[in-house]
Symmetry: C2
Subunit: 234 residues, 2 copies
DNA sequence: CAGTGGTCTAGACCACGAG
DNA sequence: TCGTGGTCTAGACCACTGA
């Protein structure tokens, strides 16, 4: 009990509401009493009821609309929250020792497919950085990344031998918008070599595009070693 | 402006705080003024400041501790929220026409690997359901699922020819705990045939384990058709 | 111990949107 | 139009935890 004894907290209300939904007392799609009535029932203020119901709606159990009232969602829109850790943290969470290694870092004209992907002008230049992340001496992730020089001019002076491009970017342009995708790809000869896999092996792959105030900053492909799985509970 | 003119809303405060972090005015790891002081600065009550800061902490930008105060997280723990839609919704969101087809549905003794995975007793029985989800006539997802009969006895009477096992389960035991994983697997001959792929092709694969009040309910493997990617923005 | 965030109250005004 | 949720105020007590 977070609050002192015998008060009804918003947590209590959340529990009670969930229990009623689970028990079938409040059927999917059914309309719930309004906040004022619930406040009376729970002997608390409408503010407290409001917080409880608002959070339940955020969590995907309820749908609330002014005037229409609050309904139980028939198919709860449960959302999985995946925390996207930095590779270093991910390795260390596994109890491993993180090691980073730069493979190559070159400034080059942005390839056509990247221009299309990031809406770059045809003559824009990018820093192409390839690197490896190890768990001890085991390959953990191979990263292939392009950083738009016009958007982050300091990148030409970055020392990617000593710091990974992701960590460098987080320090340099911390607050960005991100589009993140996951897919299964096939190991080409390069990926296979870096991850110590047979060519053609399925590889769990992430793609991340990052913008800062609408300007494209970076495109990254992250190839995970065999057996990797991304897991969450909810 | 959600509130009437000239009041400071919790949204305004959130924006201002984020802007200060972005601009570097509030550096990572630095301590922010306490709520009371911010309330004075923003000419509003502490309640309003509290809501703004609480939400920013929920969203992974700040860390708050009683007595210690509120700090800017150096590596924002941005969390990707993936909405896990029902297959039907996912297909329809693509503008496609959803079609479901049952492949097989048999009650059987739980295989050993499943007993281990779900902590079943060796003699427990499961309903093994295999089915296909199509976008029009294109394979979209092949689903291989086991449902624990002791946990959901009604399953023996379910008509999986007319309703998918996931939709049936949502109707029957709506509120559950879930562990969800994604990985890249290799198409075996069966998966390859159902998804119309060459054998050995990489397949984006989901695994879902569901419990109800601690009792294991179901284990499902979901194999997605070629080219599938799971995407989110944040 | 004392400062900070966590939460509740009692009341108010308002925006939205269904009927 | 008018009921419902969205938000803010002003004030209070308390839980947690760092020093």
């Amino acid at each position: 009990m977070t609050q002192s004894n015998e008060t009804t907290s918003y947590r209590d209300i959340k529990e009670t509401v969930l229990a009623r939904i689970r028990s079938g007392e409040w059927q999917p799609d059914s309309l719930l009493p309004n906040e004022q009535d619930l406040a009376v029932e729970f002997s608390c203020t409408r503010t407290t009821v409001n917080r409880a119901m608002r959070e339940l709606a955020d969590e995907g159990f309820l749908e609330r609309r002014r005037k229409a009232g609050t309904r139980v969602l028939s198919a709860p829109q449960r959302q999985a929250r995946f925390t996207i850790p930095k590779v270093r943290d991910e390795v260390e969470a596994l109890g491993g020792i993180y090691r980073y290694a730069l493979v190559s870092s070159v400034a080059e004209r942005a390839p056509d497919w990247l221009c299309a992907r990031l809406a770059l002008k045809p003559d824009q230049h990018v820093m192409h950085v390839r690197c490896m992340h190890f768990n001890g001496n085991t390959p953990f992730q191979y990263e292939d990344r392009w950083i738009v020089i016009d958007s982050v001019p300091e990148v030409v002076n970055a020392d990617f031998a000593s710091i990974g491009p992701n960590e460098w970017l987080i320090q340099t342009v911390p607050f960005t918008n991100v589009e993140l995708s996951f897919l299964a790809s096939r190991a080409d000869d390069s990926v296979a070599a870096f991850l110590d896999l047979p060519i053609g092996e399925p590889v769990f792959t992430g793609e991340r595009i990052t913008w800062l105030e609408g300007e494209p900053v970076t495109f990254a492909k992250m190839y995970f070693a065999a057996g990797y799985r991304m897991t969450t509970q909810f």
